[in-house]
Subunit: 194 residues, 2 copies
């Protein structure tokens, strides 16, 4: 399976790096995609050269969004149109932190439950009146669309998705490899199993 990490300007480093470690260790193919050619700067620190832009990205099974710089991303009509164009060909959508605002803007959270960064819960409720926004939950899994709480919660959410797609033993092996001894399986909310 291939997972596409969409990296916008200002993306928060641990938001994407935690899930990248998890999915890579679980044997997924990981690709990075940005809006335009040229470097993306994460958190004002880390300069990244993504593999593809939205104009040349190959197909993928999972599309993932992360926090940091999401205000500008939700206003980017070209990005939102691209997400909509990938809606049918993509099996799963995943967000960490305020990445939920991007999924929501593309209509992917309509009539679903979701969570986001702890300071942004009310803002997400205002932005997405058709979404049930939940606080104090590590992740919310609707089956095809999954959102996690802030930053380090992305690690837990990624391990949950690995559990669903490859089984709990595979996820436990990844957590042990990462020395993520603090992992508690099933710590989030599963709204609807596929």
């Amino acid at each position: 399976m291939t997972i596409c990490f969409y990296l916008q300007q200002g993306v928060e480093v641990l938001d994407f790096a935690g899930p990248m470690e998890v999915f890579s260790a679980a044997g997924f193919r990981v690709i990075t995609v940005s809006r335009k050619k040229g470097p993306v700067t994460s958190q004002g620190i880390l300069k990244i050269m993504p593999d593809y832009t939205i104009d040349d990205a190959p197909p993928f099974d999972i599309l993932a969004f992360f926090g940091g710089g999401t205000n500008a991303a939700t206003k980017d009509t070209g990005l939102i149109a691209w997400i909509e164009s990938r809606r049918t060909s993509t099996s799963y959508f995943f967000s960490v932190c305020t990445g939920a605002f991007i999924l929501g803007k593309a209509g992917l959270l309509d009539s679903l439950s979701a969570t986001t960064f702890h300071s942004s819960i009310e803002e997400l409720r205002t932005a997405l009146p058709r979404t049930r926004v939940l606080a104090n939950v590590r992740f919310v899994d609707n089956g095809r669309v999954m959102t996690t709480a802030g930053i380090s919660a992305g690690i837990d959410g990624a391990l949950h998705l690995v559990t669903r797609l490859k089984g709990e033993e595979a996820a436990k092996e990844v957590a042990a490899y990462m020395e993520y001894d603090k992992w508690v399986p099933n710590q989030g909310l599963v709204v609807a199993e596929r």
Copy 2:
């Protein structure tokens, strides 16, 4: 305070990204340094453009090393000579995972205690006969030189160093911001307080 993240080819993504999130959120200035100009690929996935090479890196207070690609790094005599040249001007040395092999090669772990990635404990004992290598510990803090266990343990080690340099309240604020609700302060071994 400035912390220098040395990023070698093949560096493991969560090894450095966890501490980068922590130190950045704690208000440290973070710079990235590589051996030569041009991109460094993390874990075969993430292409990074470091800020400096070892030939033009400015002074810093903390020098940090991470796992992945460390076998080649320990054989790089130019890198080891550079670390030795920064020994006096650098206040603290920090490693995550097999980054300990680099610190050890530069003589920084002589007569000290250390830890590393769980699968590499025996190998580190063989490589560093003058170092007490400890298993089953999240981090080992010798005062000026600190090593952590594998991958996600870097987050705990970074929070510990923030606790030492800025106080436990500051570290708790960072953990809360990151939603790292699982953080347990003082979970590692402090061998000698400065």
